[in-house]
């Protein structure tokens, strides 16, 4: 159970509403088709104002990760260690994510991931990305990381 969340006034925004309903949606451009994150009122690629939302495929690759050991807030003392990830979605956008508490996974930069939305209450859910062994093909010679 996470204890950090966006303040309530943000949860009515499409990104969070769509997650609460169960699916990760990305801000996208109706003219050039590109997705962008974080959301913005205008498409950063073609500068069109015709932006909207579309469901993400959920497929991503791991660009980086870290296991946080040092709690930076007193309320996080029992939360550490926890894993933060930086993922790149198939749609070409990057997103911060993590590994849900209690799940043990071996992470390797470059590995294939699949989105799993975990809901915390009727207004708030988060997009996690977990290793997808079916899609992952280990490249020969890639060294082990943590």
């Amino acid at each position: 159970m996470t204890i950090i969340r966006p303040s309530d006034e943000f949860l009515d925004e499409p990104f969070w509403k769509n997650l609460a309903w169960g699916t990760l949606h990305l801000n996208c451009c109706d003219d050039c088709g590109a997705s962008h994150h974080p959301p913005s009122p205008i498409c950063p690629r073609c500068r069109s104002w015709n932006t909207g939302w579309k469901p993400a495929s959920g497929r991503a690759r791991l660009k980086s990760f870290t296991e946080v050991h040092h709690p930076v807030h007193s309320l996080l003392e029992s939360a550490v260690p926890y894993v933060v990830t930086l993922v790149e979605l198939e749609e070409g956008v990057r997103m911060v994510s993590g590994i849900p508490a209690g799940r043990k996974v071996d992470l390797r930069v470059g590995m294939a991931l699949q989105c799993e939305v975990i809901r915390y209450d009727e207004r708030f859910a988060l997009p996690y990305f977990l290793p997808d062994a079916k899609l992952d093909r280990v490249t020969a010679g890639r060294s082990e990381t943590n």
């Binding site: 996470t2 204890i3 950090i4 969340r5 966006p6 303040s7 309530d8 006034e9 943000f10 990104f15 994150h37 974080p38 950063p44 660009k63 980086s64 990760f65 870290t66 296991e67 946080v68 050991h69 040092h70 930076v72 807030h73 309320l75 996080l76 939360a79 926890y82 933060v84 990830t85 930086l86 956008v93 990057r94 997103m95 911060v96 994510s97 993590g98 390797r108 930069v109 470059g110 988060l126 010679g141 890639r142 060294s143 082990e144 990381t145 943590n146």
Partner: protein, 389 residues
């Protein structure tokens, strides 16, 4: 660029200055002016970080500066350390001011600490809320516990390791060589907060893990104090006391995703596109190979290998071997952070990074090397080349 840094001033670095940031700022500014052979009445421009708590108005009022014709601010704190010098230079070259002081005053150890989540989160009924519009600790990152800059640096480090296929041992050796070498520099630097504490590779490895792969000795200090520097035109510098160091080039560079915390850019193992170094060295009229000493903003140790590669000081993927063989040490081919850096001297958000570059070119460093040109950068977001006057 046609400006020079002619004065440096600072208070002591400490964990508790025991005085207000305003008092610290005034001490540093007066010291810098004295170093330059100038007076308060000569100052007609001020540059500072927006994040500084001591406004230009407060300085004008406290010091009785008769007429301030330029007051500039820059965003993102230390990210723009060299950009603040660029801004001061631009004001001088545009004729807006003739003598600009860049100052920073912060009780960062006894006061608000950047490494704490309390800075970006609000607590309510046992829940932590984010309203930050941007990282660190923004609404998209905070729920996953990504809250402070030091955790972002851990992501840079792991991305670097993953990109180049470095295993845990190689990463430890590479980063440890930075922490240990810079501590050795600090041990010879009377200004350094850690001048009396040695650090061995064994002690580095034994340091507790903060956020993998970074350990406690990979992180910079938190410091109370103030620093200031005086910038004037090159022409005017020649008429002053002779401590001038020329700003050959200074620049700023951000692009989509690179600011504020470099999460959404296309790469994470490299933090500055090649064009940044090409343009900077081009304007300075030097090549990367001409750089004699480098001051790399080391909020964490990973910034050093990334900057060395991003600016072509070391070939891509070559930082591990370069650093583990001690080339950044006092007898190496490119000494780095000869003051001990933010890791071991004190964390002054880039001003002490710049100051050591200036000191090397004035033969005032406590780890003096033979240097005609110094290079300074904060992951390419701001960079500078200094040369002997």
């Amino acid at each position: 660029m046609k400006t020079s840094i002619v004065g440096l001033g600072q208070t002591e670095f400490s964990k508790n200055s025991g005085r207000s940031e305003l008092k610290l700022a005034v001490e540093a500014i007066l010291a810098a002016l004295q170093d330059a052979g100038l007076e308060v009445n000569d100052v007609d421009g001020l540059v500072r970080y927006t994040w500084d708590n001591t406004s230009e108005a407060t300085i004008v009022n406290a010091l009785g500066i008769p007429a301030l014709k330029y007051y500039g601010e820059t965003e993102f704190g230390g990210v723009n350390c060299c950009g603040a010098v660029a801004q001061a230079s631009a004001a001088i070259e545009a004729g807006l001011a003739s003598c600009v002081v860049f100052y920073r005053a912060l009780n960062a150890r006894s006061g608000v600490r950047f490494g704490r989540g309390e800075r970006v989160l609000e607590e309510r009924d046992g829940t932590l809320l984010s309203r930050q519009p941007e990282p660190p600790g923004d609404i998209y990152s905070a729920p996953f516990g990504l809250l402070v800059p030091g955790q972002h640096h851990a992501l840079y480090a792991q991305a670097y390791a993953g990109h180049y296929g470095l295993d845990t041992e190689q990463v430890t050796n590479m980063l440890g060589s930075i922490a240990v070498t810079q501590r050795a520099y600090a041990n010879k630097n009377p200004r350094a907060l850690l001048r009396d504490r040695t650090l061995s590779m064994d002690e580095y490895r034994a340091g507790r893990v903060i956020s993998t792969p970074l350990r406690v000795f990979d992180y910079c200090l938190e410091t109370d104090g103030a620093m200031a520097m005086v910038i004037v035109s090159r022409e005017r510098a020649r008429s002053l006391s002779g401590k001038a160091v020329d700003v050959l080039a200074a620049g700023q560079y951000i692009f989509p995703g690179s600011a504020p915390m470099y999460l959404y850019a296309p790469h994470t193992y490299s933090l500055a596109p090649e064009i940044v170094g090409q343009e900077l060295f081009g304007k300075a009229g030097v090549n990367a190979a001409d750089i004699d000493v480098a001051m790399i903003y080391d909020a964490t140790s990973i910034m050093v290998p990334i900057a060395l590669e991003d600016f072509g000081l070391v070939e891509r993927g070559g930082a591990h071997d370069f650093l583990t063989s001690g080339e950044h040490g006092s007898r190496g081919s490119l000494p780095v952070n000869t003051h001990g850096g933010l890791l071991s001297e004190g964390y002054f958000h880039g001003l002490n990074t710049i100051a050591e570059g200036v000191r090397q070119l004035r033969d005032e460093s406590f780890n003096q090397v033979s240097a005609e040109t110094a290079f300074i950068t904060l992951r390419g977001a701001s960079s500078m080349v200094l040369g002997r006057a």
